[in-house]
Symmetry: C2
Subunit: 244 residues, 2 copies
DNA sequence: GAGTGGTCTAGACCACCAA
DNA sequence: TGGTGGTCTAGACCACTCA
Protein backbone atom coordinates (compact mmCIF):
# COMPACT_ATOMS: atom_id res chain seq x y z
CA UNK A 1 0.00 0.00 0.00
CA UNK A 2 0.99 3.55 -0.60
CA UNK A 3 0.17 6.58 1.45
CA UNK A 4 -1.53 9.40 -0.40
CA UNK A 5 -0.59 12.36 1.70
CA UNK A 6 -1.47 16.00 1.23
CA UNK A 7 -4.29 14.85 -1.00
CA UNK A 8 -7.72 16.43 -0.63
CA UNK A 9 -9.28 12.97 -0.60
CA UNK A 10 -7.02 11.68 2.12
CA UNK A 11 -8.10 8.36 3.61
CA UNK A 12 -6.21 6.56 6.35
CA UNK A 13 -4.37 3.44 5.24
CA UNK A 14 -6.37 1.21 7.55
CA UNK A 15 -9.60 2.33 5.91
CA UNK A 16 -8.21 1.35 2.52
CA UNK A 17 -7.22 -2.04 3.98
CA UNK A 18 -10.73 -2.35 5.38
CA UNK A 19 -12.14 -1.86 1.89
CA UNK A 20 -9.79 -4.50 0.48
CA UNK A 21 -10.80 -7.01 3.13
CA UNK A 22 -14.47 -6.25 2.55
CA UNK A 23 -13.99 -6.82 -1.18
CA UNK A 24 -12.51 -10.23 -0.45
CA UNK A 25 -15.56 -10.98 1.67
CA UNK A 26 -17.96 -9.86 -1.07
CA UNK A 27 -15.95 -11.78 -3.68
CA UNK A 28 -16.26 -14.92 -1.61
CA UNK A 29 -12.53 -15.45 -1.08
CA UNK A 30 -13.35 -16.04 2.59
CA UNK A 31 -16.84 -17.41 3.21
CA UNK A 32 -19.02 -17.14 6.33
CA UNK A 33 -17.60 -19.22 9.18
CA UNK A 34 -14.18 -19.61 7.56
CA UNK A 35 -10.91 -18.36 8.97
CA UNK A 36 -9.14 -15.49 7.24
CA UNK A 37 -5.34 -15.19 6.95
CA UNK A 38 -3.44 -14.13 10.07
CA UNK A 39 -2.66 -10.47 10.70
CA UNK A 40 0.96 -11.04 9.77
CA UNK A 41 0.05 -12.68 6.48
CA UNK A 42 -2.34 -9.87 5.60
CA UNK A 43 0.25 -7.27 6.56
CA UNK A 44 2.77 -8.74 4.13
CA UNK A 45 0.09 -9.14 1.47
CA UNK A 46 -0.97 -5.50 1.66
CA UNK A 47 2.55 -4.24 2.36
CA UNK A 48 1.62 -2.50 5.61
CA UNK A 49 2.48 -3.10 9.24
CA UNK A 50 0.62 -5.57 11.40
CA UNK A 51 -0.76 -2.69 13.48
CA UNK A 52 -2.47 -1.18 10.47
CA UNK A 53 -4.09 -4.48 9.50
CA UNK A 54 -5.09 -4.81 13.13
CA UNK A 55 -6.90 -1.51 13.11
CA UNK A 56 -8.82 -2.46 9.97
CA UNK A 57 -9.82 -5.81 11.48
CA UNK A 58 -10.75 -4.11 14.77
CA UNK A 59 -13.21 -1.97 12.92
CA UNK A 60 -14.74 -4.91 11.04
CA UNK A 61 -14.94 -6.85 14.29
CA UNK A 62 -16.91 -4.13 16.09
CA UNK A 63 -19.31 -4.16 13.13
CA UNK A 64 -19.77 -7.91 13.69
CA UNK A 65 -18.46 -8.65 10.22
CA UNK A 66 -15.39 -10.50 11.51
CA UNK A 67 -14.95 -12.40 14.76
CA UNK A 68 -11.59 -12.50 16.55
CA UNK A 69 -10.62 -15.50 18.64
CA UNK A 70 -7.43 -15.16 20.59
CA UNK A 71 -5.04 -18.01 19.95
CA UNK A 72 -7.12 -19.31 17.05
CA UNK A 73 -7.50 -16.67 14.38
CA UNK A 74 -9.99 -14.29 12.82
CA UNK A 75 -13.18 -15.66 11.29
CA UNK A 76 -15.91 -14.43 8.99
CA UNK A 77 -19.05 -13.93 11.05
CA UNK A 78 -22.00 -16.17 10.29
CA UNK A 79 -25.62 -16.46 11.29
CA UNK A 80 -25.17 -20.24 11.33
CA UNK A 81 -23.24 -20.23 14.58
CA UNK A 82 -25.16 -21.11 17.69
CA UNK A 83 -26.37 -17.96 19.43
CA UNK A 84 -26.16 -15.99 16.20
CA UNK A 85 -29.33 -17.38 14.66
CA UNK A 86 -31.44 -14.82 16.48
CA UNK A 87 -28.92 -12.00 16.47
CA UNK A 88 -31.42 -9.42 15.28
CA UNK A 89 -34.29 -10.56 17.51
CA UNK A 90 -34.76 -7.99 20.26
CA UNK A 91 -37.96 -9.48 21.63
CA UNK A 92 -37.62 -11.20 25.00
CA UNK A 93 -40.02 -12.56 27.57
CA UNK A 94 -40.82 -10.20 30.41
CA UNK A 95 -39.89 -12.87 32.94
CA UNK A 96 -36.65 -13.52 31.06
CA UNK A 97 -37.14 -17.25 30.80
CA UNK A 98 -35.72 -19.18 27.88
CA UNK A 99 -38.12 -20.12 25.21
CA UNK A 100 -38.47 -22.30 22.21
CA UNK A 101 -39.08 -20.45 18.97
CA UNK A 102 -41.19 -22.24 16.42
CA UNK A 103 -41.97 -21.33 12.88
CA UNK A 104 -45.37 -21.91 11.28
CA UNK A 105 -45.19 -21.40 7.54
CA UNK A 106 -48.13 -19.57 5.99
CA UNK A 107 -47.29 -18.70 2.40
CA UNK A 108 -44.56 -17.99 -0.14
CA UNK A 109 -45.48 -16.35 -3.44
CA UNK A 110 -43.82 -14.54 -6.31
CA UNK A 111 -45.02 -11.02 -6.90
CA UNK A 112 -44.08 -7.59 -8.26
CA UNK A 113 -42.59 -4.75 -6.21
CA UNK A 114 -44.83 -1.75 -5.66
CA UNK A 115 -43.29 1.72 -5.51
CA UNK A 116 -42.74 1.65 -1.75
CA UNK A 117 -40.94 -1.71 -1.67
CA UNK A 118 -38.98 -0.88 -4.81
CA UNK A 119 -37.62 2.25 -3.21
CA UNK A 120 -36.68 0.43 -0.02
CA UNK A 121 -34.99 -2.53 -1.73
CA UNK A 122 -33.38 -0.27 -4.33
CA UNK A 123 -34.92 -2.13 -7.28
CA UNK A 124 -37.25 -1.06 -10.07
CA UNK A 125 -40.97 -0.79 -9.41
CA UNK A 126 -42.54 -3.91 -10.92
CA UNK A 127 -39.39 -6.00 -10.45
CA UNK A 128 -39.90 -9.59 -9.28
CA UNK A 129 -40.00 -10.17 -5.56
CA UNK A 130 -40.67 -13.10 -3.28
CA UNK A 131 -43.13 -12.64 -0.46
CA UNK A 132 -43.24 -14.86 2.61
CA UNK A 133 -45.73 -14.92 5.46
CA UNK A 134 -45.27 -16.93 8.60
CA UNK A 135 -46.23 -17.13 12.22
CA UNK A 136 -43.63 -17.27 14.97
CA UNK A 137 -44.64 -19.14 18.06
CA UNK A 138 -42.94 -18.98 21.44
CA UNK A 139 -43.65 -21.74 23.91
CA UNK A 140 -46.75 -22.74 22.00
CA UNK A 141 -48.26 -19.22 21.87
CA UNK A 142 -48.44 -17.43 18.47
CA UNK A 143 -46.61 -14.14 19.04
CA UNK A 144 -45.41 -12.66 15.77
CA UNK A 145 -47.15 -12.40 12.45
CA UNK A 146 -44.30 -11.94 10.01
CA UNK A 147 -44.46 -10.68 6.45
CA UNK A 148 -41.24 -10.45 4.51
CA UNK A 149 -40.14 -9.53 1.02
CA UNK A 150 -36.86 -10.14 -0.82
CA UNK A 151 -35.89 -9.30 -4.40
CA UNK A 152 -36.29 -12.41 -6.56
CA UNK A 153 -33.04 -12.03 -8.50
CA UNK A 154 -30.45 -12.83 -5.77
CA UNK A 155 -32.76 -15.47 -4.26
CA UNK A 156 -33.57 -17.49 -7.37
CA UNK A 157 -34.99 -20.82 -6.25
CA UNK A 158 -36.34 -19.64 -2.91
CA UNK A 159 -39.62 -21.45 -2.34
CA UNK A 160 -41.98 -22.76 0.30
CA UNK A 161 -39.91 -25.85 0.94
CA UNK A 162 -36.76 -23.86 1.68
CA UNK A 163 -38.63 -21.54 4.04
CA UNK A 164 -40.14 -24.48 5.89
CA UNK A 165 -36.77 -26.19 6.18
CA UNK A 166 -35.17 -23.01 7.48
CA UNK A 167 -36.90 -23.60 10.78
CA UNK A 168 -37.26 -19.95 11.65
CA UNK A 169 -33.81 -18.63 10.87
CA UNK A 170 -34.14 -17.03 7.46
CA UNK A 171 -30.73 -15.39 7.74
CA UNK A 172 -28.75 -18.60 8.06
CA UNK A 173 -30.79 -19.98 5.16
CA UNK A 174 -29.93 -16.93 3.02
CA UNK A 175 -26.28 -17.54 3.81
CA UNK A 176 -26.08 -21.26 3.17
CA UNK A 177 -28.44 -21.37 0.19
CA UNK A 178 -27.79 -18.08 -1.56
CA UNK A 179 -24.49 -16.76 -0.19
CA UNK A 180 -26.21 -13.59 1.01
CA UNK A 181 -25.02 -12.48 4.41
CA UNK A 182 -26.88 -9.73 6.31
CA UNK A 183 -24.61 -7.52 8.34
CA UNK A 184 -26.96 -4.96 9.84
CA UNK A 185 -30.57 -3.89 9.98
CA UNK A 186 -32.70 -0.85 10.70
CA UNK A 187 -35.98 -1.17 12.52
CA UNK A 188 -38.88 1.29 12.79
CA UNK A 189 -41.36 0.59 15.56
CA UNK A 190 -44.94 1.68 16.02
CA UNK A 191 -47.99 0.68 17.99
CA UNK A 192 -50.85 -0.38 15.76
CA UNK A 193 -54.28 -2.00 16.07
CA UNK A 194 -54.62 -5.60 14.86
CA UNK A 195 -56.53 -5.87 11.62
CA UNK A 196 -58.85 -8.74 10.79
CA UNK A 197 -56.28 -11.04 9.15
CA UNK A 198 -53.65 -10.61 11.85
CA UNK A 199 -56.15 -10.79 14.70
CA UNK A 200 -57.27 -14.16 13.39
CA UNK A 201 -53.73 -15.48 13.02
CA UNK A 202 -52.71 -14.42 16.50
CA UNK A 203 -56.05 -15.39 18.05
CA UNK A 204 -56.87 -11.86 19.21
CA UNK A 205 -59.71 -9.40 18.96
CA UNK A 206 -59.56 -6.97 16.07
CA UNK A 207 -58.15 -3.65 17.27
CA UNK A 208 -55.88 -5.22 19.89
CA UNK A 209 -52.62 -3.21 20.29
CA UNK A 210 -49.64 -4.79 18.55
CA UNK A 211 -46.03 -3.76 18.22
CA UNK A 212 -45.27 -3.17 14.57
CA UNK A 213 -41.63 -3.75 13.65
CA UNK A 214 -40.62 -2.74 10.16
CA UNK A 215 -37.14 -3.95 9.34
CA UNK A 216 -34.78 -3.43 6.42
CA UNK A 217 -31.71 -5.68 6.39
CA UNK A 218 -28.48 -4.87 4.59
CA UNK A 219 -25.72 -7.02 3.16
CA UNK A 220 -22.11 -5.97 2.43
CA UNK A 221 -21.84 -2.49 0.99
CA UNK A 222 -25.05 -1.39 2.74
CA UNK A 223 -27.14 -2.97 0.03
CA UNK A 224 -30.75 -3.52 1.21
CA UNK A 225 -31.78 -7.15 0.67
CA UNK A 226 -34.85 -7.79 2.76
CA UNK A 227 -37.90 -5.92 3.96
CA UNK A 228 -39.84 -7.31 6.85
CA UNK A 229 -42.91 -6.35 8.85
CA UNK A 230 -43.49 -8.14 12.14
CA UNK A 231 -46.63 -7.62 14.16
CA UNK A 232 -45.98 -8.71 17.73
CA UNK A 233 -48.16 -9.42 20.68
CA UNK A 234 -46.35 -7.80 23.61
CA UNK A 235 -48.49 -8.79 26.57
CA UNK A 236 -45.72 -10.97 28.00
CA UNK A 237 -42.79 -9.77 25.90
CA UNK A 238 -40.90 -6.58 25.29
CA UNK A 239 -38.51 -5.18 22.75
CA UNK A 240 -35.09 -4.37 24.24
CA UNK A 241 -33.13 -1.38 23.07
CA UNK A 242 -29.80 -0.14 24.41
CA UNK A 243 -29.04 3.56 24.13
CA UNK A 244 -25.41 4.69 24.27
CA UNK B 1 1.48 2.18 36.38
CA UNK B 2 2.74 -1.29 36.90
CA UNK B 3 1.96 -4.37 34.93
CA UNK B 4 0.64 -7.33 36.85
CA UNK B 5 1.59 -10.21 34.66
CA UNK B 6 1.01 -13.89 35.21
CA UNK B 7 -1.68 -12.91 37.65
CA UNK B 8 -4.99 -14.75 37.61
CA UNK B 9 -6.82 -11.40 37.71
CA UNK B 10 -4.89 -10.00 34.78
CA UNK B 11 -6.31 -6.77 33.40
CA UNK B 12 -4.77 -4.87 30.52
CA UNK B 13 -3.07 -1.62 31.49
CA UNK B 14 -5.40 0.46 29.35
CA UNK B 15 -8.39 -0.87 31.26
CA UNK B 16 -6.81 0.22 34.50
CA UNK B 17 -6.17 3.66 32.98
CA UNK B 18 -9.80 3.72 31.90
CA UNK B 19 -10.87 3.15 35.50
CA UNK B 20 -8.60 5.95 36.72
CA UNK B 21 -10.00 8.38 34.16
CA UNK B 22 -13.55 7.36 35.06
CA UNK B 23 -12.80 7.98 38.72
CA UNK B 24 -11.61 11.49 37.90
CA UNK B 25 -14.88 12.02 36.02
CA UNK B 26 -16.96 10.76 38.97
CA UNK B 27 -14.87 12.80 41.39
CA UNK B 28 -15.57 15.91 39.36
CA UNK B 29 -11.94 16.69 38.53
CA UNK B 30 -13.09 17.22 34.93
CA UNK B 31 -16.69 18.35 34.62
CA UNK B 32 -19.12 17.93 31.69
CA UNK B 33 -18.11 20.08 28.75
CA UNK B 34 -14.60 20.71 30.08
CA UNK B 35 -11.37 19.69 28.38
CA UNK B 36 -9.28 16.94 29.95
CA UNK B 37 -5.45 16.90 29.91
CA UNK B 38 -3.76 15.96 26.65
CA UNK B 39 -2.79 12.36 25.93
CA UNK B 40 0.87 13.17 26.54
CA UNK B 41 0.13 14.75 29.92
CA UNK B 42 -2.00 11.79 30.98
CA UNK B 43 0.69 9.38 29.79
CA UNK B 44 3.29 11.02 31.99
CA UNK B 45 0.83 11.25 34.89
CA UNK B 46 0.00 7.55 34.77
CA UNK B 47 3.54 6.51 33.76
CA UNK B 48 2.46 4.71 30.61
CA UNK B 49 2.96 5.36 26.91
CA UNK B 50 0.74 7.68 24.93
CA UNK B 51 -0.60 4.71 22.98
CA UNK B 52 -1.95 3.10 26.11
CA UNK B 53 -3.72 6.29 27.23
CA UNK B 54 -5.03 6.54 23.69
CA UNK B 55 -6.62 3.12 23.84
CA UNK B 56 -8.32 3.95 27.15
CA UNK B 57 -9.67 7.21 25.75
CA UNK B 58 -10.75 5.45 22.54
CA UNK B 59 -12.90 3.16 24.60
CA UNK B 60 -14.45 5.99 26.62
CA UNK B 61 -15.06 7.91 23.41
CA UNK B 62 -17.00 5.07 21.77
CA UNK B 63 -19.12 4.93 24.91
CA UNK B 64 -19.88 8.63 24.41
CA UNK B 65 -18.33 9.47 27.75
CA UNK B 66 -15.53 11.52 26.21
CA UNK B 67 -15.48 13.45 22.95
CA UNK B 68 -12.30 13.76 20.88
CA UNK B 69 -11.72 16.82 18.73
CA UNK B 70 -8.69 16.68 16.50
CA UNK B 71 -6.46 19.69 16.95
CA UNK B 72 -8.35 20.86 20.03
CA UNK B 73 -8.31 18.21 22.70
CA UNK B 74 -10.50 15.66 24.46
CA UNK B 75 -13.65 16.83 26.26
CA UNK B 76 -16.09 15.42 28.78
CA UNK B 77 -19.36 14.70 26.98
CA UNK B 78 -22.37 16.73 28.01
CA UNK B 79 -26.09 16.77 27.31
CA UNK B 80 -25.89 20.58 27.24
CA UNK B 81 -24.23 20.67 23.85
CA UNK B 82 -26.44 21.40 20.89
CA UNK B 83 -27.57 18.18 19.26
CA UNK B 84 -26.98 16.23 22.47
CA UNK B 85 -30.10 17.43 24.27
CA UNK B 86 -32.17 14.71 22.66
CA UNK B 87 -29.48 12.06 22.46
CA UNK B 88 -31.69 9.32 23.83
CA UNK B 89 -34.80 10.26 21.87
CA UNK B 90 -35.33 7.67 19.15
CA UNK B 91 -38.72 8.93 18.06
CA UNK B 92 -38.78 10.66 14.69
CA UNK B 93 -41.47 11.86 12.35
CA UNK B 94 -42.34 9.44 9.57
CA UNK B 95 -41.81 12.15 6.98
CA UNK B 96 -38.46 13.00 8.56
CA UNK B 97 -39.13 16.72 8.90
CA UNK B 98 -37.62 18.71 11.73
CA UNK B 99 -39.90 19.51 14.57
CA UNK B 100 -40.15 21.71 17.58
CA UNK B 101 -40.33 19.82 20.86
CA UNK B 102 -42.37 21.47 23.57
CA UNK B 103 -42.80 20.49 27.16
CA UNK B 104 -46.07 20.87 29.03
CA UNK B 105 -45.54 20.39 32.74
CA UNK B 106 -48.21 18.37 34.53
CA UNK B 107 -47.02 17.56 38.04
CA UNK B 108 -44.04 17.05 40.33
CA UNK B 109 -44.58 15.37 43.68
CA UNK B 110 -42.55 13.70 46.40
CA UNK B 111 -43.45 10.09 47.08
CA UNK B 112 -42.17 6.74 48.35
CA UNK B 113 -40.67 4.00 46.18
CA UNK B 114 -42.73 0.85 45.79
CA UNK B 115 -40.98 -2.52 45.53
CA UNK B 116 -40.75 -2.41 41.74
CA UNK B 117 -39.21 1.06 41.51
CA UNK B 118 -36.94 0.37 44.47
CA UNK B 119 -35.50 -2.66 42.75
CA UNK B 120 -34.96 -0.80 39.50
CA UNK B 121 -33.33 2.28 41.05
CA UNK B 122 -31.36 0.15 43.49
CA UNK B 123 -32.77 1.90 46.58
CA UNK B 124 -34.78 0.68 49.55
CA UNK B 125 -38.52 0.17 49.21
CA UNK B 126 -40.15 3.17 50.85
CA UNK B 127 -37.22 5.48 50.13
CA UNK B 128 -38.05 9.02 49.02
CA UNK B 129 -38.52 9.58 45.32
CA UNK B 130 -39.57 12.45 43.11
CA UNK B 131 -42.23 11.80 40.52
CA UNK B 132 -42.75 14.00 37.47
CA UNK B 133 -45.46 13.89 34.84
CA UNK B 134 -45.41 15.90 31.69
CA UNK B 135 -46.68 16.04 28.16
CA UNK B 136 -44.34 16.34 25.20
CA UNK B 137 -45.73 18.13 22.21
CA UNK B 138 -44.29 18.07 18.71
CA UNK B 139 -45.38 20.79 16.32
CA UNK B 140 -48.39 21.56 18.46
CA UNK B 141 -49.65 17.95 18.71
CA UNK B 142 -49.42 16.17 22.10
CA UNK B 143 -47.44 13.01 21.38
CA UNK B 144 -45.86 11.62 24.53
CA UNK B 145 -47.30 11.26 27.99
CA UNK B 146 -44.23 11.00 30.18
CA UNK B 147 -43.99 9.73 33.73
CA UNK B 148 -40.59 9.73 35.40
CA UNK B 149 -39.15 8.90 38.78
CA UNK B 150 -35.77 9.74 40.33
CA UNK B 151 -34.45 8.99 43.80
CA UNK B 152 -34.88 12.07 46.01
CA UNK B 153 -31.47 11.93 47.67
CA UNK B 154 -29.18 12.87 44.75
CA UNK B 155 -31.79 15.33 43.43
CA UNK B 156 -32.45 17.33 46.60
CA UNK B 157 -34.17 20.55 45.60
CA UNK B 158 -35.73 19.26 42.39
CA UNK B 159 -39.16 20.86 42.10
CA UNK B 160 -41.83 21.99 39.67
CA UNK B 161 -40.02 25.23 38.87
CA UNK B 162 -36.82 23.43 37.87
CA UNK B 163 -38.73 20.98 35.66
CA UNK B 164 -40.58 23.81 33.95
CA UNK B 165 -37.37 25.75 33.39
CA UNK B 166 -35.68 22.65 31.95
CA UNK B 167 -37.72 23.14 28.80
CA UNK B 168 -37.91 19.46 27.97
CA UNK B 169 -34.32 18.37 28.45
CA UNK B 170 -34.25 16.77 31.89
CA UNK B 171 -30.77 15.36 31.30
CA UNK B 172 -29.05 18.71 30.82
CA UNK B 173 -30.93 19.96 33.90
CA UNK B 174 -29.69 16.97 35.93
CA UNK B 175 -26.15 17.83 34.85
CA UNK B 176 -26.15 21.55 35.47
CA UNK B 177 -28.27 21.53 38.64
CA UNK B 178 -27.23 18.28 40.31
CA UNK B 179 -24.01 17.18 38.66
CA UNK B 180 -25.58 13.90 37.61
CA UNK B 181 -24.61 12.86 34.12
CA UNK B 182 -26.44 9.99 32.38
CA UNK B 183 -24.20 7.92 30.16
CA UNK B 184 -26.49 5.20 28.86
CA UNK B 185 -30.02 3.89 29.03
CA UNK B 186 -31.99 0.70 28.48
CA UNK B 187 -35.44 0.79 26.94
CA UNK B 188 -38.17 -1.84 26.90
CA UNK B 189 -40.92 -1.33 24.36
CA UNK B 190 -44.45 -2.66 24.21
CA UNK B 191 -47.70 -1.87 22.49
CA UNK B 192 -50.46 -1.00 24.97
CA UNK B 193 -53.98 0.39 24.96
CA UNK B 194 -54.47 3.96 26.20
CA UNK B 195 -56.12 4.12 29.61
CA UNK B 196 -58.56 6.84 30.61
CA UNK B 197 -56.02 9.30 32.04
CA UNK B 198 -53.60 9.04 29.15
CA UNK B 199 -56.32 9.04 26.51
CA UNK B 200 -57.56 12.33 27.90
CA UNK B 201 -54.10 13.89 28.00
CA UNK B 202 -53.31 12.88 24.43
CA UNK B 203 -56.81 13.61 23.17
CA UNK B 204 -57.48 10.04 22.08
CA UNK B 205 -60.12 7.40 22.55
CA UNK B 206 -59.58 4.99 25.41
CA UNK B 207 -58.02 1.78 24.08
CA UNK B 208 -56.11 3.48 21.29
CA UNK B 209 -52.77 1.69 20.61
CA UNK B 210 -49.77 3.48 22.10
CA UNK B 211 -46.07 2.68 22.11
CA UNK B 212 -44.97 2.17 25.70
CA UNK B 213 -41.31 2.99 26.30
CA UNK B 214 -39.95 2.07 29.69
CA UNK B 215 -36.49 3.50 30.21
CA UNK B 216 -33.87 3.15 32.92
CA UNK B 217 -30.97 5.61 32.71
CA UNK B 218 -27.56 5.03 34.22
CA UNK B 219 -24.84 7.36 35.40
CA UNK B 220 -21.12 6.56 35.83
CA UNK B 221 -20.49 3.10 37.25
CA UNK B 222 -23.74 1.78 35.77
CA UNK B 223 -25.70 3.24 38.65
CA UNK B 224 -29.42 3.53 37.79
CA UNK B 225 -30.65 7.09 38.42
CA UNK B 226 -33.93 7.52 36.59
CA UNK B 227 -36.94 5.45 35.65
CA UNK B 228 -39.21 6.67 32.93
CA UNK B 229 -42.37 5.52 31.20
CA UNK B 230 -43.34 7.26 27.99
CA UNK B 231 -46.60 6.52 26.23
CA UNK B 232 -46.33 7.63 22.63
CA UNK B 233 -48.79 8.20 19.86
CA UNK B 234 -47.11 6.68 16.79
CA UNK B 235 -49.55 7.52 14.03
CA UNK B 236 -47.07 9.89 12.39
CA UNK B 237 -43.90 8.89 14.23
CA UNK B 238 -41.78 5.83 14.67
CA UNK B 239 -39.08 4.60 16.98
CA UNK B 240 -35.76 4.02 15.22
CA UNK B 241 -33.51 1.17 16.20
CA UNK B 242 -30.22 0.15 14.58
CA UNK B 243 -29.19 -3.49 14.77
CA UNK B 244 -25.54 -4.39 14.32
C1' DG C 1 6.42 -25.40 21.09
C1' DA C 2 4.55 -23.01 17.29
C1' DG C 3 1.12 -19.92 15.82
C1' DT C 4 -2.56 -16.72 16.72
C1' DG C 5 -4.52 -12.58 18.51
C1' DG C 6 -3.71 -8.91 22.42
C1' DT C 7 -0.87 -5.50 24.80
C1' DC C 8 2.64 -2.05 25.29
C1' DT C 9 6.29 0.88 23.90
C1' DA C 10 9.00 4.62 21.46
C1' DG C 11 9.30 7.34 17.87
C1' DA C 12 8.19 9.53 13.42
C1' DC C 13 5.14 12.00 10.85
C1' DC C 14 0.44 13.91 9.39
C1' DA C 15 -4.00 16.61 9.78
C1' DC C 16 -6.36 19.96 12.25
C1' DC C 17 -6.97 24.10 15.07
C1' DA C 18 -6.10 28.48 17.35
C1' DA C 19 -3.43 32.30 18.29
C1' DT D 1 3.95 28.25 14.92
C1' DG D 2 3.03 25.20 18.56
C1' DG D 3 -0.10 22.01 20.51
C1' DT D 4 -3.63 18.56 19.93
C1' DG D 5 -5.44 14.30 18.31
C1' DG D 6 -4.71 10.70 14.34
C1' DT D 7 -1.88 7.45 11.67
C1' DC D 8 1.80 4.24 10.91
C1' DT D 9 5.76 1.58 11.94
C1' DA D 10 8.90 -1.94 14.13
C1' DG D 11 9.70 -4.64 17.68
C1' DA D 12 9.12 -6.90 22.21
C1' DC D 13 6.48 -9.54 25.02
C1' DC D 14 2.03 -11.73 26.88
C1' DA D 15 -2.18 -14.80 26.84
C1' DC D 16 -4.58 -18.25 24.56
C1' DT D 17 -5.20 -22.54 21.71
C1' DC D 18 -3.96 -26.83 19.88
C1' DA D 19 -1.20 -30.51 18.38
Amino acid sequence: MEKLSNSPNYRPLYEQIKVLITQSLIGGEWRPGEIIPSEIELASRYKVSQGTVRKAIDSLATENILIRRQGKGTFVATHEAEGMKLRFLRLTAVNGQKELLQNEFLSCVKSKANAYIAQILDIKAGASIIEVKRLLTFSGRPLIYDHLIVPAAPFKGLNSAKVEESNGSMYSMYESQFGVRMIRAEERLKAVAADKEVAKALALKEGYPLLSIERVSFTYGDKPMEWRLGLCLTDDHHYMSELE
